[in-house]
Amino acid sequence: MINNVLYKQPKFWVLGILFLALCAFPQVTSGYQTSLLAKFLVFGIFALSLDLIWGYSGIVNFGHAIFFGAGAYAMGIALKYLPFAGATYFAVIFAILVPMLIGILLGYFLFYGRVGGVFFGVVTLALTGVVQSIIIISSDLTGGMNGLFDFAPPKLGIPGLIEFDLYSPTVAYYTVLAAAIGCYLLARYIVNSDFGRVIQAIREDEDRVEYLGYNVPFLKVVIFAIACGMAGFSGALYVPLGFISPDLLSIERSAVVLVWVAVGGRGTLIGAFVGTLAVSYMQTFLSDQFVVLWLLFIGVLAILVILIWPTGIVGFAKRYSLRSIFPFKQS
């Protein structure tokens, strides 16, 4: 029976091998490579959260980095001010709730006010600057321009019994890997649910959806809050792998996450990871090779990919019948 499934569904083989390869990665590479991949997987979760709103609900967010940054800051601040054992868990919850709350506030304000489309995007773009300014001037809490670094190191496990320091690349890597798979499955469940279906209908014509009896602003706030929470979660995971500074909320970061999703393929979920990994490794490779020119190449590449692969890598793969590899919904 199982054999039969495996035989008929090459997808399972490919996914299984991919999973094993990911599990084995830290064992066969250096700490640097491990933390690099962990960081990129964190970015993948961040991109996934954007795909949920951008790819599926048509909410254009040019300031998604706000939520990533808010998550990271919430994590850092919580670790700094909650000095007891097991604080990491609270910090992570905090890092999910704070961006979610910002998302709900913003969503309540704008979606209930019927602000949508590019308007919404540009408002979030403008807010990026505001949140950055707020962080910089509240330097007592956030460390201001210098960034936030004097907090207790995040630890997982059972306090007192067995603890894992997230600053260890391997621990961070497996944590992030599990989180990435969990977030992917959650997102997949959401978009495949009836809620996900309605969200996609809202993307196309929100007025029409309303005539069918759906409270459109509410549903938009819900999906937006979920995405913001997920972005915040990725921000929290980023803390042991990177550095908390106002740079996390830059417009560049908001732009680059759009690029990751677009390159991977909008509205495919898995494309968020594919795009993030592809672009990030490409960037790492190019900037190692060409210290000065790499950014120019990235610009050219971004243009070419968008012109040549309008549906992203996953869309392209779909067309060339690599269907079995990518577990996207067949429509």
Partner: protein, 365 residues
Amino acid sequence: SARGEETVKLGGLFHMTGAGSVWGPSMQQCMEYAINEINSSGGVLGRQLAMLAEDDNTSPDIGIQKSTKMIQADGAKALFGVVYSSVRAAVAANVAARFRVPYFYPTYWEGGTSCGRYYVSMGAVPNQQLDYFIPYLVEKFGPRIYCVGQDYIWPRQSIEIVETLLKKHGGELVGKEFVPFDQSDWSSVIRRIKDAKPDVFFPFIGGGLVDCIKQYYDFGLGETAIASTLMDELFVPAFPPELREGMQCSVSYLMDLDNPVNNAFIAGYKKAYGEDAVVNNMGEALYDSVHLWKLATEKAGSFDIEDTVDALGGLSFNAPQGEISIQASSNHAALHQIIAEVRADGSFEVIKDFGKVEPITDCKV
């Protein structure tokens, strides 16, 4: 080759792209120049140095990634570079302290954060820039000073020190004001300066300085003297000649310094990178940093990083700016304070070199 295996690697992290890219290229050249100089005079403990250079895109994230790579994958023995404070803080905390590798930061800053055993501050902290500068300004132009800074820690601390010094020297801070980073229209700010009728306008503005000064002149404030701790060889070309002429600067190094060490340094540097090549105080600090690392390593007698770090405290070096030394208690450099005036052609006229000034900082190694 056998020789290649013996090289000792030093990592340079530069803002080659992004907001800080004004500084990256000249810093990279300075570090490269220092390494070449050391190599051609026999290297360190008989081994040649090799330079690693990476671009951080002026971002802490990439800064961490690249410096981790230089240390973990390439085996760099020390890190050098960076201007932006967020990148500095990131590299100091997440790379230097974590992987126990010395990191030399070449730029003026407020001091106090980032400190630690592996962090070597080679730039001036506020007291080094201001101790002699403020009395000089009061005496030369008058007691009334107006300060404007961007709204973050370095300007805030600097302006605080200005205020204290003014009190001590019979001056008066007639106004202070903090502005956002992306302030692009300065008309309101300038109006308030004008109303306060200061003798000296003293901005602590990084990115927006050029806009501010351009508009300052436009509003007819050209008569009031401008004092700055930021003005250097890289900044000066941004101003039209009529605006830069007469600006008062406090720095620890200038290309136009006339002493044998500097003359040799500049001559060699221009020979290597062309007549138009520019060094500013950060570049010189980076050059000094590499030499200090060499001295520490030689003093330690081995390439063991801990020994090198131990050897750093109290070392001194005869730098292009004059003799400098590392304060053992803080790993901060004692630097010269030089006051200069900008000429219309963009060169600096050195007015006074106050010699080595010890840094005052909370940092403890």
